[in-house]
């Protein structure tokens, strides 16, 4: 049995070195959003017409994202394809969305209680052969 359960429930502690991973936020001028206000890593991102037209006026670090997201993809894909830390990608995407250069489709907050949604995903997977 998970040995520590014998002495009652125990919750693993947050690692002491968690803070060291905040260093990449230097790319975003040190801004870090509160965790639950942050963009989700699976949020869908697509460049708007306004974003394409604004390309020449955008900051260097924003241009790659606007060019890449001509094809719809998730924030996680943006991070992977542009070799960005996931947290940095979130902040940059949120900036561009606020400017109107990107359109973002965020997930529902509580999909695990949404029976219609669950059924749709089940039917979709059942169709895979």
């Amino acid at each position: 049995m998970r040995p520590y359960l014998r002495d009652g429930p125990m919750v693993p502690a947050l690692p002491a070195d968690a803070a060291s991973l905040l260093r990449p936020y230097l790319q975003t001028s040190g801004r870090v959003e509160a965790a639950d206000d942050e963009l989700e890593i699976e949020a869908q991102v697509v460049t708007s017409a306004y974003g394409l037209n604004s390309f020449g006026r955008l900051a260097f670090e924003h241009r790659d994202i606007v060019a890449l997201c001509a094809t719809t993809m998730s924030v996680a894909e943006v991070a992977a394809r542009l070799a960005l830390h996931i947290g940095v990608a979130k902040v940059l995407v949120a900036d561009l969305a606020a400017l109107g250069c990107l359109v973002v489709e965020r997930p529902d907050p509580e999909p695990a209680d949404d029976l219609d949604m669950i059924e749709r995903v089940i039917r979709g997977l059942e169709g895979i052969r």
Binding site: M1, R2, L5, V11, P12, L14, P15, L21, R23, P24, L26, Q27, A35, D36, E38, E40, I41, E42, Q44, V46, T47, S48, A49, Y50, N53, T72, S74, A76, E77, A79, A80, L82, A83, L84, H85, I86, V88, A98, G100, V103, V104, E105, P107, D108, E110, P111, A112, D113, D114, L115, M117, I118, E119, R120, V121, I122, G124, L125, E126, I128
Partner: protein, 201 residues
């Protein structure tokens, strides 16, 4: 962000949903994602390394860090308006804090177990129990046969009877599909129970 008429896209992006693929190091998370994903599984591992190295004054990030912060993911188009993402979490419990990001808003989780190293999945089981995310334990049949008794495994994991224990082959698309379906059915079961509770309570 939607107020500017000029910012309207040609088409609305699909709504994303996700399932977490968890388990210890080397249990087959990446293989599982790759077996069914319609894109080649991507990872943020390299990105993490290069950014961390560039930003670190010492510039000597240990190689160990580079291999353990990988986040693997893939996706499956359910229909035009719905896309399912699969995120493979780093297995080590010292990266527990990353799990919040991956698990927040997930439909459920598949905890992959290598029957030879059952304890490697304990951090994942602990975490999903703690945050109340529905999960299924899937024993990856690396060589096509089961080396462990499922009853013994259930005892070792100390998970409730409501948690399904299944076997699957991470290399087989349809086997991975069925494992994901087991997760979704578990999620559906809990959602129904909650709805019934809400209706009567």
């Amino acid at each position: 962000m939607g107020s500017k008429a000029s910012a309207e896209p040609a088409r609305r992006p699909p709504r994303p949903v996700k399932i977490v693929i968890a388990g210890g190091f080397g249990v087959g998370k990446t293989t599982t994602v790759g077996a069914i994903s319609e894109i080649r599984p991507l990872t943020t591992e390299a990105a993490m390394t290069s950014v961390a190295a560039a930003m670190d004054d010492a510039a000597d990030v240990p190689a160990k860090t580079r291999t353990t912060v990988a986040l693997d993911f893939g996706c499956i188009t359910i229909d035009e308006t719905l896309k399912l993402y699969l995120f493979g979490t780093p297995g080590q419990d010292r990266f527990d804090f990353m799990w919040h990001d991956i698990s927040r808003g997930a439909l459920g989780a598949l905890v992959i177990v290598d029957a030879r190293r059952v304890d490697a999945c304990y951090p994942a089981v602990d975490y999903f129990e703690r945050i109340g995310l529905p999960f299924v334990v899937g024993v990856n049949l690396f060589n096509g046969h089961l080396d462990v008794d499922l009853t013994e495994l259930r005892w070792a994991l100390a998970v409730g009877d409501e948690v399904p224990l299944i076997t699957f082959d991470a290399r087989e698309k349809l086997s991975v599909r069925d494992a994901l379906l087991a997760v979704l059915r578990r999620t559906r079961e809990r959602a129904r129970a909650r709805a019934a509770e809400h209706a009567t309570g």
